[in-house]
Symmetry: C2
Subunit: 413 residues, 2 copies
């Protein structure tokens, strides 16, 4: 008998009918002899609706109260799913964050889970009850409701799976699993059977929206397997995210991620002296602007060009900051471009293969796509290109690594 934590996101519980099919699905899992703990998000659209009325009622919405407001969304879904399960003869009980209980710090709207007391739930599970837990919410030491921020329900599910020592944390979404590339862009993208935590972490942080980064990090830390699968079709086994095992196939490249949420800023003609990077990035950081890729080219005349990328929302703000510091740094000019995208290839097999970059860059060169920036880590290579080339680039790289076919394993190279 396996214990599964099953997380159903907003789209999966987006209507009465969908909640009823989720109940059907859980009932099937139980009939198959498994123990199930469900974690649910608010019905799709509900969190946005609540946020809108919160910001409408007050010029400066108080974070503590926004959390009380938002937490009501998941509360509604837990109750509805518990009742729908009742119709299938399943004894279910809703659990809110404070009832589980899921203890967090006091950072309202982006709280971090500090501790989960799983003893209540374990007792319920032993008695054959299916606990239906509200995702996204917890309670701080003062007894106030907190919420975990974007992707919070995934985090709840993974943290519960860790606390309950579950066999698998199953994340039900509106996709069939993790693909080698976005199937909307790449027709022959392939569904991955397995992927490592490390790879998934890179994919999550690189703009693939299947799972939140925090939840993958957390599951990886405790080696709790996550399975991503579709809540609308049971025909696919989904993708298992797990630790890298000795006998696991190690494809050089597992998948390709991209992000449109990018903008690039360059400070031209900066004096090439020690400490200049800090002088540029400190005032940017002070304005809460997150910097992603950083590249510095050494120039010919004792000056250098300094380029970095930020999220598009921060682009105008970052431009203003650079204009302000340009004079005191003695830099020549500020340039910027918000029509850029980031494309990344990810794979644990890359560690032992130097050839990956050249395959990627050749594929792009063949399509005459100019690479503006490059950044690498142990298991990923990211490049920045003009936005108009996005689809072409992703398809070209996907083909270059033959990702539509079964995994290219290390031994074959």
């Amino acid at each position: 008998m396996a214990l599964f934590v099953q997380k159903y996101g907003g789209t999966s519980v987006g209507s009465i009918e969908r909640i009823q099919s989720v109940a059907q699905r859980i009932a099937q899992s139980v009939a198959d002899g498994n123990q199930v703990v469900a974690v649910v998000s608010a019905m799709s659209g509900e969190t946005n609706r609540l946020t809108a009325i919160g910001t409408e009622v007050s010029r400066q919405p108080i974070a503590r109260e926004m959390d009380v407001l938002l937490a009501s969304g998941e509360q509604v879904t837990t109750a509805l799913l518990s009742m729908a399960l009742g119709d299938h003869g399943i004894q279910a009980r809703s659990y809110l964050g404070n009832q589980v209980k899921i203890s967090t710090d006091s950072s309202h709207r982006r709280a971090r889970i500090e501790h989960i007391d799983a003893s209540n739930l374990l007792g319920e599970i032993e008695r054959g009850i299916v606990p239906v837990v509200a995702g996204f919410q917890g309670v701080n030491s003062a007894g106030d409701i907190t919420t975990l921020g974007r992707g919070g329900s995934d985090t709840t599910a993974v943290a519960l799976a860790v606390a309950l020592k579950a066999d698998e944390c199953q994340i039900f979404t509106d996709v069939h699993g993790v693909y080698t590339a976005d199937p909307r862009l790449v027709e022959n993208a392939r569904l991955l059977e397995t992927i490592t935590f490390e790879e998934m972490l890179e994919l999550a942080s690189l703009g693939s929206k299947v799972l939140s980064q925090r939840s993958v990090e957390f599951a990886g830390k405790y080696a709790t397997p996550i399975r991503v699968l579709s809540s609308f079709s049971s025909a696919f086994p989904g993708t298992l995210i797990t630790t890298e095992e000795a006998n696991m196939e190690k494809p050089i490249v597992s998948g390709i991620a991209y992000s449109r949420d990018e903008a690039k800023l360059t400070l031209l003609g900066v004096p090439d002296i020690p400490g200049v990077a800090a002088k540029i990035l400190a005032p940017v950081g002070a304005e809460n602007i997150e910097v992603d890729m950083i590249v510095q080219n050494v120039g010919a005349d004792d000056t250098t060009d300094f380029t970095f990328t930020v999220k598009r929302d921060d682009y105008e703000h970052a431009l203003l900051v650079l204009e302000k510091i340009r004079g005191q740094l003695g830099a020549r000019e500020v340039q910027g471009d918000s029509k850029i995208v980031k494309v990344s290839v990810v794979g644990v097999g890359m560690r032992s293969h130097a050839g990956v970059a050249s395959i990627m860059f050749s594929a792009l060169a063949e399509e005459s796509i100019n690479i503006q920036m490059i950044s690498t880590s142990e298991i990923k290579i990211s490049i920045v290109i003009a936005e108009k080339y996005l689809e072409l680039a992703v398809r070209a790289v996907h083909d270059a690594f033959d990702l539509s076919k079964e995994a290219v394993v290390e031994e074959k190279i």
Copy 2:
């Protein structure tokens, strides 16, 4: 400095704008030097909406989960009002049932408050904070959310006022206070300045919808004054419901209530032997049908006619029950009428005055309105008449007791 518990019902918090005016109103109370605890209902329509999706998702909605579902309505309002108060420079904090905490029994959907631990709130009030408490909800000893049933937010407000030893429990509604009769029916109905708990209790139980019966009962038990006033206009002082004081004016009749939610059933030709009433009412009660007025007329031929009233929703059900037991009781016939109403006059002065009934009955006779049933208590007289006479009867009785003028006090009679 006075401490007020202010309860705002669904209509008073029915939109963002109205929540903002409630915040304005509370801010004014605080500026006037008062300490305030707010109790709020769900936004109007919200409880019905939640009930509808709950009954849609499951054929047999589980009471425990319906409470979790419904409680989210008040949760939303407490958060919104707390944020709106922030805009007025008022430090407010939302409190849910389990946070106060309001301990109830485990009867989901109609729980009764067993204990309120007011120490948290008292501390907050001392620190100048306005607690905004979710009405209608509590928590049982297992930590499950419970709701208090119809009129539950009034009960929460009164129970809090008692626990906090508040100077007044102010119930803000969409009417200006308690009238001598329904102002929609009687044009010259007069707003009452004061009324006793006893009188208000009879009015509440008799179909006047201003306040729930339980809340009046509770306030009366602990002699905590309730003031009913309008949330839309501060021009009226409302009606103070309080204990009967020695020097208080004792009008013979304080007001007139009516209820359309009535139906009448008669069993004709029942053998007039001891125990027959119990034989009729026991099976009715066994079907959870509530019986209100009961009248038994002694017939000429050792038989009797037995009549009682029920709520209209229970009418068809009660008819079936009577048809079933008619044979075994040896009764002749079952008759019924669902087009009847109840009209009642209420007043503490009635205790010492026998003449009230004759004034009432004369007024009805003058309008040729036939009285079908009569029931009296120490401070009220109720009659049943055909529904079509309702408005006429209420106006005639209102005029007969001169209620549009200042109270007729005992001494003047």
